[in-house]
Amino acid sequence: MPVTFNDVSYVYLPHSPYEHVALKHVNLKIEDQEFVAIIGPTGSGKSTLLQHINGLLLPSEGSINVNEYTITPKTKVRSIRNLRREAGLVFQFPEYQLFEANVHDDIAFGPKNFGVPANEIEERINSLMTTVGLPTSLLERSPFELSGGQKRRVALCGILAMNPSILVLDEPTAGLDPRGGAKSLNLIKKLNEEQGKTIILVTHEMDIVLEYCQRVILLIDGEVKADGKPADIFMNQELLAESKIVQPQVLQVATRLIKGGLKLDYRNIKNAEDLANEIARVKKGGVSK
């Protein structure tokens, strides 16, 4: 079932000197199994938007449909509690949420809260450790002894252990080295392709958006400014100039080559390898793969 935002607005601290309108009449529909990126400058309402998807924030106006749940300004939090299991939200720097005595208990914390039977939790933990590429010997260790990247993967396991159908991630690569970032994105992609999870992520790294995502939503000042395929948005020079988005590096090269007269089809380019293939194809004047 899709995620739908119907004319959603959100105001922080209404009627106070700190009042701030974070979302303004947002209308969106995210289909099942989509891989969507939400981009936009700091303070454009990206995180606020994410927190509406699992009901952490209730809209000030409008409504949101996620699976069979409907969230309106008057929704009681109790009634949407199970939504939090179905739409797993991974916060920025999720390693800060670790607290249990060992990795095993920390991963089991979420599913336990939602009443998943113990033997099923065990199964999930074992298969998840393989999925995220952590040795099962870590299960007995304290989460505070692990390295930064390991901590983050454990935290991700903690959300995945609830087996959500929608995975929402706030800057999953922040603070990771390039290789760690690529690793976690490949993992997310695998979850999308093999397990059919809907992925909605916020990121500031446009190269990632181009390479992994099927769709981009650009938020500016709490409004949806653009919504479409990454390549189309990143080649829209007017939009880039207006919203101060930095073009992904491969597209910067492609733009120059196209300007120089090379008839590249930018829609085929997602990373450096694609760019090379595309140049080869154009140069040969035929189809190459």
Binding site: R84, G88, F99
Partner: protein, 275 residues
Amino acid sequence: MKNITLGRYLPYDTWIHRLDPRFKIIAMIALLVCVFQPLPWIVNGFLALVILVLLLMSRVKISSIFKSLKAMWFMILVILIFNVILIRTGEVLFTIFDYPIYTKALLQTATIAVRLTLMISITTILTATTRPLDLTYGLEFFMTPLKVIKFPAHEIAMTISIALRFIPTLLEETEKIMKAQASRGVDLKGGTFKQKINGIIALIIPLFVSSFQRSEELANAMEARGYNPSGKRTRYRTLKFHAGDLVGLIVTCVVVALVFIAIYNPALIGIGGLV
């Protein structure tokens, strides 16, 4: 978390906001002393009126004061019970199950309730109109003479200002961790007692871990910039006594003088008959 209203600085620009923090601290103490005097009701009413005017001037919401009283009803109830048992003077107002309730007991409780309300109002005015940093500058000023007896005035002021500086940060952090754990099914409002305890543990441990990390980082950052607690330093913002402060000082003196005359020589201001 952001909706904690009581005692929070409100970024308006009123006359009270612009007053010197040092003066505001003194005025607050003076008013508190007045409030806790054994006052006749008419003088209490006068003080309440003065404080009400100050509240309105500083744009503190009166409703927020009453909200804080809600949290105190239990304390007032306990005081009432003690007073009913202990105070046996005055007239008997009525009897419950042959137990006499004296008027004095009720009056005494009412007085305490009024005093508490006024006390909260006064302190709220101070904290709502003074930036926490200005407040610590003010405190440091009053502690400076104690340096003579090797009292670490600057260090204490620095500690207080760091603590104050990190209150909003910690609240933000708390909110973030709460949301992260709520996403993992923690339900601090509903849920059984055991679930609530587990939820609190899931909140407190990460908060401790990140606070320790933060304090270490801050200490390193300060060291890296050559911080030396015993060094002599200048201020970016210096406190100055303005004409407005003088007006405030005169008003405070008049109020305090009126209150004390009312206590010790009521005839002087023509309310002798009323007391």
